[in-house]
């Protein structure tokens, strides 16, 4: 699992370099450009890629817009978006380098309504019912302290329960999860479907490498079906009453569209696309739309 453009796609060395660069007094945008986004050309383009990631907040139905929490906040892009909608925003991350970077970023931007703290997603240092909104972006993209990453259902259960605990009644949890087509480990969730996926992956390992890679990518698309089924189930198990699923197209870094994960809504979206292939429309028509999108977003209400 990998979240394109999120902190999880960077090495520990890069994160440490990022923290060291802002520690030397370099502006955070410049540090990001030098270390993490060498292709970014100017301040405006940085803002644009950062910016649009927060517009999902217009889909959220909340009675109060007072306190928000960004769990595993990374470099703070989502925190910055939350800070424009909520009175007060808390950023937490278990790792030191992204935390140092985020502190420098919000200090430099004079974001008076953002507070940063070091904490793991599995043990949030807040009392029950503290926040109106909690964000877990790039879920399963990084490790959660105290829980083994080899067991994603356990990670999900631990973090979702903790997020549910700190949410006020009527509050909303955002979960962003990316299912990248990178060869590697298959997420063992989704019951029978995931077991089948694992069996297929094992079977194709006997094939030549290039065939295996191509086949693994296809299998990973099927794995998205498992994600689409497993996450809502986990959210309900954690105590959330209402769950809405969306797709983000093409990626979290460039969230050009946010589509309700329903058959006819996806069909309507595909018809709007100039380049949409007939095969995509067929898959949507067959209700296999989760395989079409890498980035899944869930809004769960208490």
């Amino acid at each position: 699992m990998d979240a394109p453009g999120l902190v999880s796609s960077w090495s520990d060395q890069e994160l440490a370099q990022l923290a060291a660069t802002v520690g030397r007094g370099l502006p955070w945008r410049q540090a990001l450009r030098e270390v993490a986004q060498p292709s970014a050309s100017d301040e405006r383009s940085e803002h644009r890629s950062d910016d649009a990631c927060g517009n999902w907040l217009w889909l959220v139905d909340l009675a109060r817009w007072e306190r928000a929490l960004d769990v595993q906040g990374g470099i703070g892009s989502m925190t910055a978006a939350l800070a424009r909608h909520f009175t007060s925003v808390h950023y937490v991350d278990a790792a030191r380098p992204p935390l140092e970077f985020a502190r420098a970023r919000f200090r430099e931007d004079r974001s008076a309504n953002v507070a940063c703290a070091q904490a793991g997603a599995g043990a949030l240092p807040y009392p029950n019912a503290t926040f109106d909104c909690v964000v877990w972006d790039g879920a399963l993209g990084r490790g959660v302290s105290g829980v083994a990453m080899v067991d994603p259902p356990a990670v999900l259960a631990a973090v979702l329960t903790e997020c549910r605990r700190v949410l006020r009644p009527g509050g909303c949890l955002y979960v962003g999860i990316a299912t990248g087509p990178v060869p590697g480990r298959v997420l063992p969730v989704g019951g029978i479907l995931s077991a089948l996926v694992r069996m297929v992956v094992r079977a194709i390992r006997v094939l030549p490498v290039w065939t295996w890679r191509r086949a693994t990518m296809q299998v990973r698309r099927v794995e998205r079906l498992a994600v689409a089924r497993a996450i809502p189930r986990q959210l309900r198990a954690a105590g959330f009453a209402r769950v809405q699923a969306f797709y983000i197209d093409p990626s979290f870094q460039q969230p050009w569209s946010i589509i309700p994960a329903r058959r006819r809504a996806v069909l309507a979206y595909e018809r709007l696309q100039m380049t949409s292939a007939r095969r995509r429309r067929w898959l949507a028509w067959l209700s296999l739309h989760p395989v079409l999108f890498e980035c899944h977003m869930f809004l769960a209400y208490v």
Partner: protein
């Protein structure tokens, strides 16, 4: 959806059907350009952004409304809503221009349109025969001409000046901006000379972004979309140049990848001849001479490039347009006249 957005949608919905037709989760965000509220730079200036667009889905998940959401500081949206309302009130234009209404609060403004179903010209264009392409371009440009002419009567306040404007004066700022990003002085001088030689043209409100993506075949007639910059450009034939260039790019992507449209226009290729003929025919309908048409063509490439640069887009976005300017400059080298559009 956020309560604030729902309230604005209800306020913009003059017919009062929206709440009944659209479920709470019937919202699809498309063209998500930038955040609302927008990010603020350290200097305190708003970063240019266009917010996002929304398709509102009915209870059967079929698109019902199209809605543009913009930051409150965006000046174009309110203007566009006013333009659309004025144009839609005209009996001749109500089948061409979408019906729109607007609402705003202290943070966000929106424009609500009925969702127009149809076949986008952009999608049909690559598969059209040569004859069908030329005919459809003529039909669409005739519709655009009618909108421009009616708009000049309906929205006289948009006209900067009723008198003919010299092209070299209209292009002065754009040329300065191109110079600022490194366009060579001899190219600038060549363009200035050509624009001065073309003289003045009578003002005519232009759509400003008439490209195949903004044209829809709907129930047996052409509809124009996206009037966000309508009337800002007031040079006749500008829309024609923009439309024909974009049509050519979509029909001839391989040629467009290796050569500029302006250079191609100067060639004997069949597609170039069709483009020239379309532009000249429209110029005649607008009462322009061939030299004036050539002047507008030069003005167009200069202005459209400067517009994209002005938005702060990275160089990679405006470099292809700059190559069009350089191609025009190349044709004008040594004081030559721009003879691209001389009558055939």
């Amino acid at each position: 959806m956020k309560h604030e957005l729902h309230e604005l949608l209800v306020a913009a919905d003059r017919a009062g059907n929206l709440t009944r037709e659209i479920p709470e989760d019937g919202i699809l965000i498309v063209e998500n350009y930038g955040a609302i509220p927008p990010a603020v730079r350290r200097s305190g200036c708003y970063v240019w952004n266009r917010g996002f667009n929304v398709v509102l889905l009915g209870r059967d998940d079929a698109p019902r409304y199209f809605c543009k959401c913009r930051p409150i500081a965006d000046a174009n949206l309110e203007r566009e809503t006013a333009v659309l309302r004025a144009l839609h009130s005209d009996p001749e234009l109500c089948t061409i221009v979408p019906r729109a209404s607007g609402a705003r609060d202290s943070e966000v403004q929106l424009q609500l349109n009925e969702f127009v179903t149809g076949w986008p010209y952009e999608r049909a264009l690559p598969r059209l025969t040569e004859l069908a392409w030329v005919e459809s371009m003529a039909q669409i440009l005739s519709v655009a001409r009618m909108v421009s002419r009616r708009a000049t009567d309906l929205l006289p306040s948009l006209l900067t000046t009723p008198a003919p404007a010299p092209l070299c004066v209209a292009a002065a700022n754009a040329l300065r901006e191109l110079g600022a990003v490194g366009l060579a002085a001899d190219v600038l001088q060549g363009l200035e000379r050509a624009l001065a030689g073309a003289g003045a043209v009578p003002p005519l409100l232009q759509h400003g972004d008439l490209w195949p993506g903004n044209v829809l075949w709907h129930h047996g007639s052409w509809r124009l979309l996206d009037f966000e910059v309508f009337g800002i450009v007031q040079t006749p034939l500008y829309d024609v140049c923009h439309f024909v260039r974009n049509c050519w790019t979509l029909r001839e992507p391989r040629v467009a990848a290796t050569t500029t449209w302006v250079a191609r226009l100067a060639s004997d290729a069949r597609d170039a001849e069709l483009c020239r003929r379309t532009i000249l025919t429209e110029a005649r309908h607008l009462g322009l001479e061939a030299t004036q048409a050539a002047g507008v063509l030069a003005y167009y490439v200069v202005d459209v490039t400067a517009q994209v640069i002005r938005r702060g887009t990275p160089q990679v976005a405006w470099a292809p347009l700059m190559r069009e300017v350089l191609a025009a400059g190349e044709l004008l080298r040594g004081g030559a006249a721009l003879r691209l559009l001389d009558p055939l």
